[in-house]
């Protein structure tokens, strides 16, 4: 396998150039998938035979919950990369992905609560799945607070990386919470090995929305990371040239 791309990631300039080309594609893909998924999920998917139309909330709840967990795993992976290879870009990724992850957890918790009211009769129950998702939110807050509280960038990067790696034990707990404990939360909708239990008109819009959320995350993460890289590299000649070029273009 060719690892040149991995070593190039150590170069902020290379990242800045390549990510600038990716952002528009990811943004367009996210917008299109979101539009298709929303219309399909809200208007065309058939109502659930038990939950009626409240089930349509899953088209945002499930993608947000997927993404919230994936982003945390990404934080841990970036944390390992940062600790092992001392790659500065990994810290940029951790710091910029954490707030997005926290927002996705908020969406998952809020939409879950709103869905719970008509379905379970309560906005909140101290159920294993819900509680472990709440812990995920606090882990995100921890990473964000730690990154801002420590003024030395290298120490902050190390502390955040360690918290991200330790906190990742919560991810399998969230995943298997519906199997290990008696919970109100329904089991997983998608499985890699089995055919979905839902009809096609129900799971296809869900799959589209999941892809839309991942593309959205990609675009927003790159936007955030590009700005952070530009700020951190402000003394290097390429960053100065880039800022000057942007300023001359009239912003």
């Amino acid at each position: 396998m060719n690892w040149t791309w991995f070593h190039k990631l150590g170069s902020p300039k290379w990242f800045y150039e390549i990510s600038g080309r990716w952002v528009p594609w990811l943004a367009v893909a996210a917008a299109l998938l979101l539009a298709i998924g929303l219309v399909w999920g809200l208007a065309f998917a058939p109502p659930d035979y038990q939950q009626g139309n409240s089930f349509r909330i899953i088209y945002i709840h499930v993608p947000a919950a997927f993404l919230a967990q994936s982003i945390y795993v990404m934080l841990a992976v970036a944390g390992i990369v940062g600790l092992v290879w001392k790659m500065k870009l990994a810290d940029v990724a951790v710091q910029q992905a954490a707030p997005i992850g926290a927002w996705m957890t908020v969406i998952a918790l809020l939409t879950g609560a709103i869905w719970g009211k008509p379905t379970w009769g309560a906005f909140w129950v101290w159920d294993a799945r819900l509680t472990s998702m709440l812990i995920l939110l606090f882990l995100y807050f921890g990473v964000i607070a730690l990154g801002q509280a420590i003024s030395n960038r290298d120490s902050a990067a190390k502390a955040c990386a360690v918290l991200a790696i330790v906190g990742v034990v919560n991810i399998p707990i969230i995943k298997y919470s519906v199997e290990w404990w008696n919970t109100l939360h329904q089991p997983a909708t998608f499985s890699v090995v089995e055919k979905p239990a839902m009809p096609f008109e129900m799971w296809m819009p869900l799959l589209i929305m999941v892809l839309a959320f991942y593309c959205f995350f990609g675009a927003v993460l790159l936007l955030r990371m590009r700005l952070e890289v530009l700020k951190r590299e402000e003394r290097s000649s390429w960053a100065k040239a880039e800022v000057r070029a942007q300023v001359e273009r009239g912003v």
Partner: protein
């Protein structure tokens, strides 16, 4: 189409308030997440433009 009229679509059976508040909150959060980095970049470049002008006039 699983609804017969716009009214039925907005009512979502009896779950209109739940469905629309969920979607409203979520789309607002997504919009906020997309908008913040764009505004932050613009603010940074404006600050830098001001700094460059100051340095050139000296």
């Amino acid at each position: 189409m699983s609804f017969n009229s716009v009214g039925e679509f907005l009512a979502m059976g009896t779950h209109g308030a739940y469905v629309w508040s969920s979607y409203g909150i979520s789309l607002a959060v997504l919009a906020l997440n997309a908008l913040l980095p764009i505004l932050a970049r613009r603010r940074y470049l404006q600050d830098e433009a001001r700094r460059l002008r100051r340095e050139e006039s000296q």
